[in-house]
Symmetry: C2
Subunit: 288 residues, 2 copies
């Protein structure tokens, strides 16, 4: 049948330091209901956002190795910190399997959304230190001025599930006020950590209702949808999708949090040991 | 010289998931100014307080192995979570090197301090789940009623250095109010995480000025001082003490935080790889 659209029913691999990337997985599942997915959360070593470049790169190589080993057709780095430190390296190491991070899509959307070119990025300590958003935003808009703001407590509030009311807003205010009251304040903020969409309402209340808030994970999901279509990697219309979860710490806590996130029982959770995992350099990427 | 007091100039090993144990190290240094110490912070894998028993035990065995390998005369588990899950195991595995955790000393002090026998324990999720404080307190006071309260956000506020004012107090109130207003409310609280002494003023403001707050780390330091004297393990009067630091993530961030904690420059910080570390079972404890 010469008119058949090429398709590929292998799963998409999504990896994150822990549970934050579930917001990206959720965005992917709503856009790509026929795709199978394997989500890997490195829960025994989370969070990545306070750790060094070298350590995050090592962890990311091990996670990518575990997912390639399971035959994924595409690798999504759902964690902003890992995207900041390990994207270029994993792109080379995983070829021909494409690798998508969350920073480029978020940066592009912010470069378009900002009127003044002054953009704030709310992120982890490590992402702020990396300068990855500055570099990415300037690649789309060279005259942009980018202010990265490390907001470690917002990660903790999101994990606690305490996302609205005066206390979360006071914490948001602590991080935003020094920039909001500058003469050259940004006119939009990137939510540059997968946990921060959970605090969107609190951030919007502090910044003001008109402020654009860019969700990097949602923009990454849009990019991935386009990439699958362009490259003939989409699942067939008859595919029966399956979502599996791999974690490095015990599965119980993860299954509970993931079930809350998806509003339905998550039970396919398997514990894996990434220390036993050959790092991605030593892998041969599976044939397409 | 038959009257010579026995002494031992080998260092004391102190291990923690990261930086919280520096409060215990500080208490030890002020009580034991002649003792050399090696502090190991597992900064590449912190925090332990949200992780499973099995994972915390594995990490603790590796950390103990690294310190025994460096010839410590005594091992202090400064982390409450690791004390809860790994103390008994490490005591057997490290013999004849004595191992001291922070839970027994804190539990004993609380059993003495409480009038009513109703004791609250502020701790991590994992320590609460372990039931270790309940067991330890009841071993000193069998009729005690123990309420463990997991306070994960307090760890984050301590790490952020945001320890007083209305927002930290609002967070403390969230955790304490449900127990403070019960008819059978506790009459003292144990600070059952090494980070919590940093928030003592905020906790005191919420609980009320008369409430006893038991600092497990300070009581552990008292126990260690007594143990060294009783067992002839104290350093000689002419010993030249040295404090060294081992970390599993990059040393820069740790050196900065430790320098703030001690009010003087900390520079002997070495990065170690615990994955390469034989777990403590495989070690022969060095001769005394």
């Amino acid at each position: 049948m010469f008119w058949a659209v090429p398709h590929d029913n292998r799963p998409i691999g999504v990896f994150d330091s822990g549970i934050g990337g579930l917001t990206v997985l959720r965005a992917l599942r709503s856009r790509l209901p026929r795709e199978s997915m394997i989500y890997l959360g490195d829960t025994a070593r989370l969070p990545y956002g306070t750790k060094s470049e070298e350590t995050v790169q090592r962890y990311a190589r091990q996670a990518a190795g575990a997912l390639l080993h399971r035959g994924v057709k595409l690798l999504v780095i759902a964690c902003n910190t890992a995207s900041a430190f390990a994207l270029d390296h994993l792109r080379m190491a995983c070829s021909p399997v494409p690798v998508v991070g969350v920073i480029q899509p978020g940066a592009k959307a912010a470069a378009v959304a900002s009127r003044s070119g002054r953009i704030g990025v709310l992120c982890t300590e490590a992402t702020a230190r990396s300068g990855a958003y500055e570099t990415a935003i300037r690649s789309f808009r060279p005259a942009a001025t980018v202010t990265s703001i490390a907001c470690p407590l917002l990660v903790s509030f999101a994990e606690e599930g305490w996302t609205d009311g005066p206390v979360p807003e006071a914490v948001v205010r602590r991080y935003l006020e020094p920039v909001l009251h500058r003469a050259d304040s940004p006119d939009c903020f990137v939510l540059g950590c997968t946990h921060f969409p959970l605090l969107k309402a609190a951030i919007q209340n502090v910044a003001g209702p008109a402020w654009p808030l860019i969700d990097s994970g949602a923009h990454a999901a849009d990019s991935i949808m386009a990439l699958l279509e362009e490259s003939g990697l989409s699942a067939s219309e008859t595919a029966v999708p399956r979502t599996r979860f791999l974690v490095t710490d015990g599965p119980e806590r993860f299954a509970r949090l993931a079930s809350e996130c998806f509003g339905s029982q998550v039970d396919e959770v398997e514990q894996v040991d990434l220390r036993e995992q050959p790092v991605v350099e030593a892998m041969v990427a599976p044939a397409a």
